[in-house]
C-alpha cells in the first residue's frame, strides 16, 4: 500500500466559479496514472465518504487521460458565499488535505 501523496505529482483544490470547488489529482507518468486508475480506489463513494457530501453534491467525477489526471468537483457549502460573509477559503485552495492519505495498492 502506498499513499496517494507518494504517487501523485499534484494534489490540489481550487474554485471553479463562486459556487463550486474542483479537485485535481495529477500523476507524473503513464504508469502511476494507470496503476491508480486500475486500482479503482478513486471513485464517487470514496469522495462522498471522505468529504461527507451527498452523491448529488459531487457535480463531476472523472479521469482525464490526456492529462494523466483525476478530477472531481463539489458544490460549495451553502452556509458560506465565496468571497463574502463566513468565507472559509476564498480561493478554495486548501481543501485537498484529506486526499493525501488515500491508500493505493
Amino acid at each position: 500500500m502506498e499513499k496517494l501523496s507518494e504517487i501523485a505529482k499534484i494534489i490540489r483544490s481550487k474554485n471553479s466559479g463562486p459556487f463550486e470547488i474542483t479537485f485535481d489529482i495529477m500523476f507524473p507518468d503513464e504508469d502511476s496514472y494507470k496503476r491508480v486508475k486500475e486500482s479503482k480506489v478513486l471513485n464517487r463513494e470514496l469522495i462522498s465518504g471522505i468529504y461527507n457530501v451527498k452523491d448529488e453534491d459531487i457535480i463531476t467525477f472523472m479521469s482525464f487521460d490526456p492529462a494523466l489526471a483525476f478530477k472531481f468537483t463539489l458544490k460549495r457549502s451553502p452556509s458560506t458565499q465565496q468571497g463574502s460573509i463566513n468565507e472559509y477559503d476564498t480561493f478554495g485552495a486548501q481543501q485537498h488535505a484529506p486526499l493525501l492519505d488515500i491508500e493505493i495498492p
Binding site: N15, S16, P18, F19, I59, L68, T73, S77, S84, Y88
Partner: protein, 453 residues
C-alpha cells in the same frame, strides 16, 4: 498555410512579467499582443465596490513595458475584462491610463473601447420571460437579487471584439470590458480569417492564462495559429510546453477539463491531440466547437451584504478548548438577547476556529483534533458599520469574560494580539447574479466606441 502569431506577456495584466522574454516574443513579429485583465476568483468585492483587481501602479508598470515594446509598430494590443470586473468605470480607467502612458512615451495610438454593463431592467424582464438560467451551481435568481445588485456585467463573446476590429481596422488598442476570457483571442483569429472555432477557442482558453500551460508556470508565451492546428511556445528559453502540461491546463479552475461551455457554444476537447512538436513546443489539433441553439451570455453582479467588524484572539487553556463549541453557542445566545437584529438575522456573528475547522468547515473529516491552541476569528456583519462595530465589541467582551464549567483561569479567555482588538472592515459584498441570459444577438449588450484623441 496562413499562420498568425499572438503574444501574451502574462496571464493577468498587472501581475508583472520579465521584459526580456516579452522582447524576445516581439522579435518573432507577432500579429497581436493580447492580454486578459479580468477575474471573479478573488470574490465579489471588486464588482461590488469598484476596486480593481490589481493596484494602479502595477497596471502602469505592465502597460508601460507592453506599449514601449510595441512602440510605433502596427501591432494591435487587445485587453479583455479591463480592470478585473470589466465595468464601464474599469474600461474608462484603463483607457485613461493607456492615454497617459502613450503621452509619456510619445506614442500616438488609436484606442477603441467596448462596454459590458447590463441594466437591471433588462435582467428583470429576461427573468420574467424565462430567459435566465443557473450557471455553475448558482442558486435560483430572484427579483430581489437583481434589485440589490450594485453593478452587473455580461461576459462578451468574440463577436463584439471582432466587430470592433472590423469597424476600426486602424485601431491600435482595443480595451474591452468584461469578456469571456478567450474572447479577444478568438476575435482576433476570426478577424484574420481563421475559420475553425475549435482552433481559436481552445488556443484562447490556454493563452489567456499566459505561460501557465508550461512545465514551469510562467508568463510570456507565443501562440502560432493555423487553420488546422496551433502551437504553443514559452518565450523563456529554459522553459517548455509538454503534451501533458498543455493538456492539463483545462483542469485548472474548471468543473471539467473536456467540455467547456461559453457564449455561443461549447468547446469539446474530447478528441484533441497534443503533439510534442519540438522539445519545447506543443502542437494541438482536433478540438471542436459545438454552437449552442440559443446564444447565452454569463451575467455577473454583486450586491452589498452589509458592513463588517472582526476580532482575533487565541485560546491556550485546554479546559476551554475542550468545550469551545458549547461556549461560543452561549456567547451567541447572550449577544442575541442584547441585539434584536441578531435574532432577526439582519446581523450575524460567525466564529472561525483555527486549529479546529476554520479552513475546511463542514468538509473537515478530522473531528477529534486536540490542538494545543486555537485561534478564534470573530466576524460580525450588520446593516451599518456602527452596529457591526458595537456587536463585535460586545461579542469580543463576551468571549473574553464569560465563564464556563470547570473554569480555573479567570483572568480572560483570549490572548488578543491587536490593539484596538475590534476592527472595522468596511463593506462586504456577495455575488447576487451569476447566471446565463439568452440574448437575440451577441452584440446587443456591448456598445463599441472610438476614443477621442
Amino acid at each position: 498555410m496562413k499562420e498568425i502569431k499572438i503574444l501574451t506577456p502574462v496571464g493577468m495584466l498587472g501581475y508583472g512579467f520579465p521584459e526580456e522574454f516579452y522582447l524576445k516574443g516581439l522579435e518573432r513579429n507577432p500579429d497581436a499582443v493580447i492580454i486578459d485583465s479580468g477575474s471573479t476568483d478573488p470574490g465579489p468585492y471588486m464588482l461590488g465596490t469598484g476596486a480593481t483587481l490589481v493596484k494602479p501602479m502595477a497596471y502602469e508598470k505592465d502597460l508601460k513595458v507592453i506599449l514601449r515594446g510595441i512602440g510605433e509598430k502596427k501591432i494591435p494590443f487587445l485587453i479583455g475584462s479591463a480592470g478585473g470586473a470589466g465595468t464601464k468605470e474599469n474600461v474608462d480607467y484603463m483607457i485613461e491610463t493607456i492615454q497617459k502612458i502613450c503621452a509619456e512615451l510619445g506614442l500616438k495610438k488609436k484606442i477603441v473601447g467596448i462596454y459590458a454593463d447590463v441594466e437591471k431592467e433588462r435582467i428583470q424582464s429576461a427573468l420574467k420571460s424565462g430567459q435566465i438560467s443557473s450557471c455553475s451551481s448558482s442558486p435560483i435568481l430572484t427579483d430581489t437579487d437583481i434589485e440589490h445588485s450594485v453593478r452587473v456585467v455580461a461576459q462578451m463573446g468574440a463577436e463584439p471584439i471582432y466587430e470592433a476590429l472590423k469597424r476600426y481596422p486602424d485601431a491600435d488598442i482595443v480595451v474591452a470590458g468584461r469578456a469571456y476570457d478567450p474572447s479577444p483571442y478568438a476575435a482576433f483569429c476570426m478577424y484574420k480569417g481563421i475559420t475553425d472555432p475549435g482552433i481559436y477557442w481552445h488556443m484562447g482558453k490556454i493563452m489567456e492564462c499566459g505561460g501557465f500551460c508550461c512545465e514551469r508556470k510562467s508568463q510570456v508565451i507565443l501562440a502560432t495559429v493555423r487553420e488546422d492546428s496551433f502551437d504553443l511556445e514559452p518565450m523563456d528559453p529554459s522553459n517548455r510546453c509538454t503534451e501533458v502540461s498543455v493538456a492539463s491546463h483545462t483542469l485548472y479552475e474548471k468543473t471539467r477539463p473536456d467540455l467547456l461551455p461559453g457564449p455561443g457554444g461549447r468547446l469539446n476537447l474530447q478528441g484533441s491531440q497534443y503533439e510534442q512538436f519540438t522539445d519545447r513546443v506543443v502542437r494541438v489539433k482536433g478540438s471542436q466547437f459545438e454552437p449552442s441553439a440559443v446564444y447565452q451570455v454569463k451575467l455577473e453582479g454583486a450586491a452589498l451584504v452589509g458592513y463588517r467588524a472582526v476580532f482575533i484572539g487565541g485560546v491556550r487553556d485546554p479546559i476551554l478548548i475542550s468545550q469551545l463549541d458549547k461556549f461560543l453557542e452561549n456567547v451567541k445566545k447572550r449577544l442575541e438577547s442584547m441585539y434584536p437584529s441578531l435574532k432577526t438575522g439582519e446581523a450575524k456573528i460567525f466564529f472561525h476556529i483555527y486549529g479546529k475547522n476554520a479552513v475546511m468547515g463542514t468538509l473537515e473529516p478530522k473531528k477529534d483534533a486536540a490542538p494545543v491552541e486555537v485561534g478564534i476569528l470573530g466576524e460580525v456583519v450588520a446593516p451599518t458599520q456602527e452596529l457591526a462595530n458595537a456587536i463585535c465589541s460586545n461579542t469580543r467582551v463576551g468571549v473574553l469574560h464569560m465563564p464556563y464549567p470547570g473554569q480555573l483561569a479567570t483572568g480572560g479567555n483570549l490572548a488578543l494580539p491587536l490593539n484596538p482588538p475590534d476592527n472595522a472592515l468596511g463593506p462586504v459584498c456577495r455575488f447576487s447574479v451569476y447566471h446565463l441570459m439568452d440574448v437575440e444577438s451577441p452584440l446587443e449588450l456591448f456598445p463599441i466606441f472610438e476614443v477621442e484623441e
